[in-house]
């Protein structure tokens, strides 16, 4: 255990710590973020009204749209001169969601990841292959600094280039692999094809996340790689990876409650639900300086469990994310909203675009196909012009989503409509 004092803190004491930190965060955002001063005022609230941890539920929610409305830096609670790093995730309308970190935030994040890697059995002497993307995405750099903090050896290989991944895995003696579960399965398959024996190799664990997966995939990964496969959870708005992580008991992900307060709410009414109920996950950050968020609605559906865990940690656990309250898809680790496709079609002059996202998994890689109904406006009598349209759509969609998609032009009324509202997504992946 990386930080036993914190990770096994008695819950009463932990709640006290949370309350102290929550008060500080609320004061910080009230004083420094005009958006929060405004939303608190609308609720007739002042920081002093917070009398106990349970009063958290009085505070207003923050939603993704608020982040977009305050693009790029208006939700930051410190001057930009204090911000040492920004990350960004793809946005639904072309503009990304931007998050910032002070040096202190980066240090805390590294500690959280160090705890996560330790949960997966990592420590000094381990060789950690970080095959999450490096860059604006939080996955690569997040795991990187945490693994270094732990004193492990980091291979910052980033995503892609499967042959090189396998070569370094073998030659450098990787013991822990970090990437999306679908990419891990793909690596496993390729290794088998190239005659690389992972099962009897050095690799012992995988830290997998950034996309939904299942117990079946875990079994498969553990079998083909001869490892223990761990689930890690996070979202850039809250911190990045490391918001929660599975311990060796593999019975849900411990939420780093000294830094984040989780809640489960009814997505319809916004009412806070007791532990054990299924609902939307909401997080309040209580240890962040640059980009604190109050009651951020993740749109992820899960359940919180407070029963004691065999590992001795006292942090509550969240179950594997079971779905979304919106129509977001995660494809190859990238967040995709149907509205992003819509924005591209509107931009090329369609007034009422009809489209469908079809996601499939071939082998272990996700494929996205975008069906677009050809309207009279798009239609041309010449094949060349339609092919140009296809190419333009492919290009624009790739630049907005950050991943490539196959474009399929289809006849009108091909896309199923229910009660006049078109179905936007068909997800054929079986996880």
């Amino acid at each position: 255990m990386f930080n036993p004092e914190i990770e096994t803190m008695p819950r009463e004491q932990l709640r006290q710590l949370q309350f102290e930190r929550l008060k500080k965060t609320v004061e910080l955002v009230y004083e420094n973020v005009p958006f929060y001063k405004q939303t608190f005022k609308e609720k007739g609230l002042q920081p002093g009204d917070l009398k106990s941890l349970d009063d958290l539920k009085l505070l207003p929610f923050t939603v993704k749209q608020d982040l977009r409305d305050n693009y790029p830096f208006a939700l930051f609670a410190v001057p930009m001169s204090e911000v040492v790093r920004v990350h960004a995730s793809s946005g639904t309308t072309g503009k990304p969601t931007v998050v910032g970190y002070t040096q202190n935030d980066i240090d805390i994040w590294a500690e959280l990841i160090a705890r996560c890697v330790a949960m997966a059995g990592g420590g000094k002497g381990d060789v950690i292959q970080v095959a999450y993307g490096y860059g604006l995405f939080t996955g690569g750099l997040g795991l990187h600094y945490g693994a270094e903090r732990l004193g492990a050896t980091v291979i910052p290989i980033s995503g892609g280039n499967t042959r090189r991944q396998l070569m370094l895995m073998k030659d450098f003696g990787t013991t822990i692999l970090c990437c999306t579960p679908s990419y891990a399965l793909f690596l496993g398959e390729e290794a088998a094809e190239e005659g690389i024996d992972l099962i009897n190799g050095q690799i012992k664990a995988g830290i997998f996340g950034a996309e939904p997966w299942s117990e079946n995939m875990r079994k498969e990964l553990e079998k083909v790689m001869g490892i223990k496969a761990y689930n890690i959870y996070g979202l850039s708005e809250i911190m990045g990876p490391g918001v929660s992580m599975e311990c060796e008991c593999q019975c849900g992900m411990h939420i780093m409650e000294d830094c984040f307060i989780p809640e489960i709410i009814d997505p319809e009414t916004g009412e806070t639900l007791p532990y054990g109920s299924k609902g939307e996950l909401v997080f309040t950050t209580i240890a962040k300086e640059a980009f604190p968020l109050i009651r951020y609605r993740t749109r992820d559906i899960s359940v919180l469990r407070e029963e004691k865990c065999g590992c001795g940690r006292t942090f509550v656990r969240m179950e594997r994310v079971m779905g979304r309250t919106d129509d977001m898809l995660i494809i190859r680790g990238v967040n995709v909203f149907p509205s992003q496709i819509e924005s591209v079609l509107l931009e090329i002059g369609e007034t009422e675009p009809h489209y469908l996202l079809v996601v499939d998994r071939q082998g272990n890689l996700d494929n996205l196909e975008v069906w677009v109904e050809v309207s009279e406006k798009m239609f041309s009598d010449e094949v060349r012009k339609l092919e140009e349209l296809e190419k333009k759509l492919r290009h624009e969609i790739a630049s907005v989503l950050g991943i490539s998609a196959k474009i399929k032009l289809v006849e009108p009324k091909t896309i199923p409509r229910s009660e006049g509202k078109a179905k936007r997504v068909i997800d054929k992946r079986e996880l």
């Binding site: 050809v374 309207s375 009279e376 798009m378 239609f379 041309s380 009598d381 010449e382 094949v383 339609l386 092919e387 399929k408 032009l409 289809v410 006849e411 009108p412 009324k413 091909t414």
Partner: protein, 143 residues
């Protein structure tokens, strides 16, 4: 001298062409000429019919994406080099041919060919001047 042609977007899946011809047949529309240009994913069906405006309306009602375009219907001597002679005339004037296809039936002893060109007025003037016979829309529709 312009003739109206209907172009329809078709996905490459079985039965679509049959459905379309069935829709037209039931409405009493006769097809005079047709051609399909296709890629691996979709095709464009081009049709010359006896009542283009009516056919266009019916196809739209049936949920097809269609458009009306102007083409010229050219009589080509049914002998070796007949088509080449006409292509040469157009080429020498720099008139670009998008595509062409033949009618199912002949008008007389000559073959009848549909030309879709970018500069349709120029092509009409040029061909007429060179004594090439073009059919009027009304003549084509009632073939």
């Amino acid at each position: 001298m312009k003739v109206q042609q209907i172009s329809v977007f078709l996905e490459n899946k079985s039965g679509r062409l049959a459905t379309l011809t069935d829709v037209l047949g039931k409405a009493g529309i006769n097809i005079r000429a047709l051609s399909i240009a296709d890629t691996s994913d979709f095709g464009i069906l081009r049709l010359i019919v006896n009542q283009p405006e009516e056919a266009f309306r019916i196809l739209k009602e049936a949920g097809f994406t269609a458009s009306l375009t102007d083409i010229i219907a050219v009589e080509v001597k049914d002998e070796p080099g007949g088509l080449a002679a006409i292509l040469k005339i157009l080429e020498s004037a720099g008139i670009n041919i998008e595509y062409l296809y033949a009618f199912l039936e002949k008008s007389s002893n000559d073959a009848l060919v549909v030309f879709r060109v970018e500069q349709i007025e120029d092509a009409i003037n040029l061909l007429t001047k060179n004594n090439v016979n073009l059919l009027k829309g009304a003549e084509v529709y009632k073939l």
